[in-house]
Symmetry: C2
Subunit: 311 residues, 2 copies
Amino acid sequence: MTEPMFNRLALVGLGLIGSSIAWAAKRKGVVKEIVGTARSQATRDRALELGFIDKAFETAAEAVDGADLVVLCVPVRASGAVAEEIGPHLAPGAIVTDVGSVKRSVVNDVEPHIPEGRYFVAGHPVAGTEHSGPDAGFAELFEGRWCILTPSDKSSADATQKLQAFWEALGSNVEIMEPDHHDLVLAITSHIPHLIAYNIVGTVADLETDTRSEVIKFSASGFRDFTRIAASDPTMWRDVFLANKDAVLEMLGRFSEDLSTLQRAIRRGEGDDLYKLFSRTRDIRRSIIDVGQETDEPDFGRMRETRSKKD
Amino acid sequence: MTEPMFNRLALVGLGLIGSSIAWAAKRKGVVKEIVGTARSQATRDRALELGFIDKAFETAAEAVDGADLVVLCVPVRASGAVAEEIGPHLAPGAIVTDVGSVKRSVVNDVEPHIPEGRYFVAGHPVAGTEHSGPDAGFAELFEGRWCILTPSDKSSADATQKLQAFWEALGSNVEIMEPDHHDLVLAITSHIPHLIAYNIVGTVADLETDTRSEVIKFSASGFRDFTRIAASDPTMWRDVFLANKDAVLEMLGRFSEDLSTLQRAIRRGEGDDLYKLFSRTRDIRRSIIDVGQETDEPDFGRMRETRSKKD
């Protein structure tokens, strides 16, 4: 049990990430009290029922009153409006952060609303599942995962340090980065993969009914893994692509060029070129396993339970 | 323990699929004896050492001698040459099958070499992992997975039925399909997802060194799942794309068109269109879970071991 770092944590947004922060903060004893707000009455009621917040408020303005840590857990393009609403109600010394997957637009949208003597340190816990809503959260979501903080003009060294300690207490490894650099790196590690997954699942949705049901039936051969990624929250992802437009379009351009090259190699029957690419991608996988971001267990460990030794 | 269905099973190719068939057939007792061949001496030695074959032969011609079931476990474009080699050595009544991910080209390449009184029933166990080689196999690989058989001119009803019983004994569900239809369905469920995964991992491999190492570091946000798919055997996949060129190019065309539409929606900031697509893809995921091809466990069950109840 850690000594409480904050007296009152206010969560604006009570979905997967908000509820997971609450569960983790409770378990680790890093905050004395957790309050929250969500736009829908049903979500607020459910959060109270599940018990991950102590009090629910109808508005963000009320929720942040007296809080020394405020975490915005809303789709990235909603951050500005929330900041505008809560700005005048922030307690002196309060630290505001967020959990959005895009950082430059959030910094730009939120900073103007942070009054003197209050601090904003943008953040992005690189963790999640394809599930959403208050029931989806769990305390271990952030354990061993990265949390990227992108301090800016309205941050202070002290606020950044406190927030870092908070995320570390929740089990995360913290990395400090420039907002723009964050957006470029995440465009390729996260945003483009999600876009592609949504796209191919969309292509399948457009197939003739017969073929579509067979695709679903035989989905375990690769397609299935894309559908998991493409089951993520639509509002969150709409906002990500709009808020990180430049980096996404830049990386999408590279991806499409490369895909055209592959397409041409297939059309022309250039087997050597295909073999060369298919071999070199293995090294990248190896590096990911080496840095501990993945295990080498086959098929995502899906076979963990049934697989047994051969002897 | 099932009654042995075949006296002698000959495996041509001793990689992931060949070795898994051997382990499964041994465990279920469906064959009396298993022999095999592989091009490399090292693979043959390893197979004997691991013990999943009883005898190893240097050539396919020798291996199939006296076998009543022959399974070609080689890259699809190697099937024709193997069939030509083994044709004159096949025992009367022998059933030949294969495990390739493309069926039309295999049927076309193999059939001319099957002599009178021997049978060929092309097959595709829709199962695998990203690992390859004789050490990668395990008996449970086919359990609960589909095996698609695509009978053709050189099949007989009896041979098809026997082969179906063999795969069912190994734990698979068997589906009978036209070779061309198989190739179309698999193009979208398997071939295109692999191509896209190879492609994005290739795009990352081309990034500047600094960015690349950060992409690897933060890969858990989506990219990681693509690298697993892109770690599959390069020779096998080169052959798949060349052998299923038409269906792959057709589906790739649809995918690219859809991606252009998405790209334009992002460029123009058309949030409603993005939201609409991102919502509708969830239904496809739901269907896949409903037909039992996937569980609803978050993040591929990666959290199965650490996740605990909230209360």
